[in-house]
């Protein structure tokens, strides 16, 4: 597999940006130059190597959810700056920049919608917002989405894409791993299906919590998935990392994910899997499914 060594040579962000703006895009994996229109048609998957480009949280709604059935939930939550954190920049300024760049309040989009007519609760992380990092708002929105599933019985789906913790929220960020885990424990107890979909990249605190707590864990091809980032590991052990290390195929080989699924087959696969599990409570299914009773 030549892609790994090639990747290490790296495509500089600058160059990539210029390419992305034009008609042609370079695959960050195999470095093949691809026709932009063709990429859009293939849901941003490389025709040469199968690498799945990073897409927006909203794109997963389009890919997974039946048209016209998605309703965003808990959109009103916004991050705060509990530590008044400042490094080379102020956290509040970084937040403003992320918000401007993405048009989102935080690095997560939650909602309800149908997959082939079956109601689900969906959460999708947004990597372009601060690397999809896990902060207080993400924790709370996941908790509320799960609470909704507990109320309706609708399966819970999460699309992960994150570099890990929101360092600027300090220990509060770490505690979001525990916070989401106590709700997922309830989800398991209530026997409500939980599907986790891992996309490029899923590492750190997100990886060591809800990403790997799903009943079924799916991964997009060639996604970087792991606890520690490859650079940290390389620095710690001081040796070269094996080819394909921490990519989806490596995780499948080691028994850490259930299945690798192409984006183009994602909805059909999720839909088939869900058909084996309990769906929403019968009285609550369909268009008139209310939210969690406790929230009304």
């Amino acid at each position: 597999m030549a892609w790994f060594s090639k990747k290490n040579r790296g495509v500089r962000a600058e160059k990539k940006k210029n390419l992305t703006d034009g008609l042609w895009v370079r695959c960050e994996f195999c470095e093949e130059i691809l026709y932009r229109k063709e990429l859009e048609r293939s849901l941003w998957t490389c025709g040469a190597c199968g690498f799945h480009f990073r897409i927006r949280s909203g794109d997963y709604v389009k890919i997974l959810i039946d048209e016209g059935t998605f309703e965003e939930i808990d959109a009103a939550l916004e991050p705060e700056d509990p530590l008044r954190f400042r490094d080379s920049k102020k956290y509040v300024d970084r937040l403003k920049a992320y918000q401007k760049k993405t048009g989102m309040k935080e690095a997560i989009l939650c909602g309800t919608g149908d997959i082939d007519g079956r109601r689900v609760t969906l959460a999708a992380l947004e990597f372009s917002f601060g690397g999809g990092s896990l902060g207080s708002v993400m924790g709370e929105k996941i908790v509320r989405a799960i609470r909704r599933s507990l109320g309706t019985g609708a399966p819970f789906l999460i699309v992960c894409s994150s570099g890990g913790a929101r360092m600027q929220e300090g220990i509060l960020s770490l505690m979001q791993m525990a916070k989401t885990s106590v709700m997922i424990a309830r989800l398991h107890e209530a026997k409500i299906p939980f599907l986790s979909i891992l996309t490029h990249p899923t590492t750190g605190g997100v990886s060591a919590s809800f990403a790997f707590q799903g009943d079924v864990i799916l991964a997009e091809p060639k996604a970087l998935i792991g606890f520690a980032g490859p650079r940290v590991i390389q620095q710690t052990i001081g040796q070269e990392l094996p080819e394909g290390f921490q990519r989806s195929e490596f995780l499948l080989d080691h028994g850490m994910v259930d299945k690798i699924v192409s984006r183009r087959d994602l909805k059909a696969t999720v839909s088939s899997i869900l058909s084996f599990f309990p769906g929403p409570h019968p009285t609550l299914s369909g268009d008139d499914a209310p939210g969690d009773a406790r929230e009304r």
Binding site: L77, I225, F227, M256
Partner: protein, 324 residues
């Protein structure tokens, strides 16, 4: 003495001078009472001056002090009986995380703890207190056993973090930690965790989803090491001191943020200056907290543990829905 921090040096040196003088007086039979008194007074003042206003970075250094008591030091001083149990029954035994049945007087508990090594050989054997997945899976096995037999769980947290290595990734470091988080969230026995040294990120949390989280005065608990944070946000590991300040990693910080339930006071200058007294304080706190939890019915215990963690986080909410 190589095992001394910069800010400890003047104190340790003065204390040595006092000792030497005392020795000399004994041998030569000379009168030094006045001189000794003066020096003792000076030492006491110096200790107060240095240790009563520690910076966050100084606390990071104390938490990592090479002489600081480790989990087994506390077990040795506190437990009337400790039967160490080994292995995850899946792959191997991870000596970076110890587990066993411990008896403190009449109290019987399942004890878990990260374990660092004292000398080079032991440091390597214990992997500097950085567990692999098998360590967390051993912990999970012991917690399940504790639940089956109604034993409370006590965990002593002291790790730089879960080990970042090739084999750790191959064997599912993320999965191991994630599994412990959900298991502890629903474990139907009381859990008390004490951060005794370093509470390093997910590797610490993996045995710290507890009903009561206590923290020693000079322990730290952080989402990332100050060095790691500095490398990412300042692009310079040397800015670790700034990162420690910004991250607010000390026990008083975490108390203020509502993350820990109690700060356990340490002997002046840190636990290593009087390990016996440090152990006594830890033992007293664990005992009191277990006593308190033993009176809570199991279902309520579960509800309260859930509510405790659901309440963690700070954000703006314009929707009018209550937190958690």
């Amino acid at each position: 003495m190589a095992e001394m921090l910069d800010f400890e040096k003047p104190i340790v040196e003065l204390e040595k001078k006092i000792d030497d003088l005392r020795q000399l007086a004994k041998q030569e039979n000379i009168e030094v009472a006045d001189e000794l008194k003066k020096l003792e007074k000076k030492a006491a003042k110096l200790r107060r001056d240095v240790f009563s206003r520690l910076s966050r970075w100084q606390r990071v250094q104390l938490a990592r002090h090479p002489l600081r008591p480790y989990a087994l030091d506390y077990v040795g001083r506190l437990a009337d009986e400790f039967i160490e149990l080994h292995g995850d029954r899946l792959f191997s035994d991870d000596e970076a995380l110890i587990a066993g049945l411990a008896r403190f007087g009449d109290r019987r508990v399942m004890l878990l703890g990260h374990q660092k090594g004292r000398d080079t050989k032991e440091k390597l054997r214990r992997n500097f207190g950085m567990a692999h997945p098998e360590g967390y899976r051993k912990a999970l096995r012991m917690m399940r056993m504790a639940e089956r037999f109604g034993l409370p769980v006590v965990t002593l947290v002291d790790t730089p973090g879960a080990f970042p290595g090739i084999e750790a990734e191959e064997r599912g470091q993320s999965v191991a930690i994630a599994d412990n988080l959900t298991a502890m969230a629903a474990l139907r026995v009381p859990i008390v965790s004490v951060i005794i040294g370093e509470g390093g990120s997910g590797g610490a949390l993996a045995i710290a989803v507890a009903d009561r989280v206590l923290m020693m005065e000079n322990a730290i608990y952080s989402v990332i090491s100050p060095e790691g944070c500095a490398a990412i946000l300042w692009a310079d590991r040397a800015k670790a001191q700034d990162a420690a300040e910004a991250l607010r990693v000390t026990a008083p910080d975490l108390m203020e943020l509502g993350i820990v339930d109690e700060v356990i006071p340490e002997p002046l200058g840190g636990a290593h200056r009087d390990p016996g007294e440090a152990a006594r304080a830890v033992g007293e706190a664990i005992d009191r907290r277990l006593d308190e939890l033993s009176r809570v019915p199991c279902d309520r215990l579960m509800e309260e543990r859930m509510a405790k963690f659901l309440g963690m986080g700070v954000f703006k909410d314009h929707s009018g829905v209550p937190h958690g």
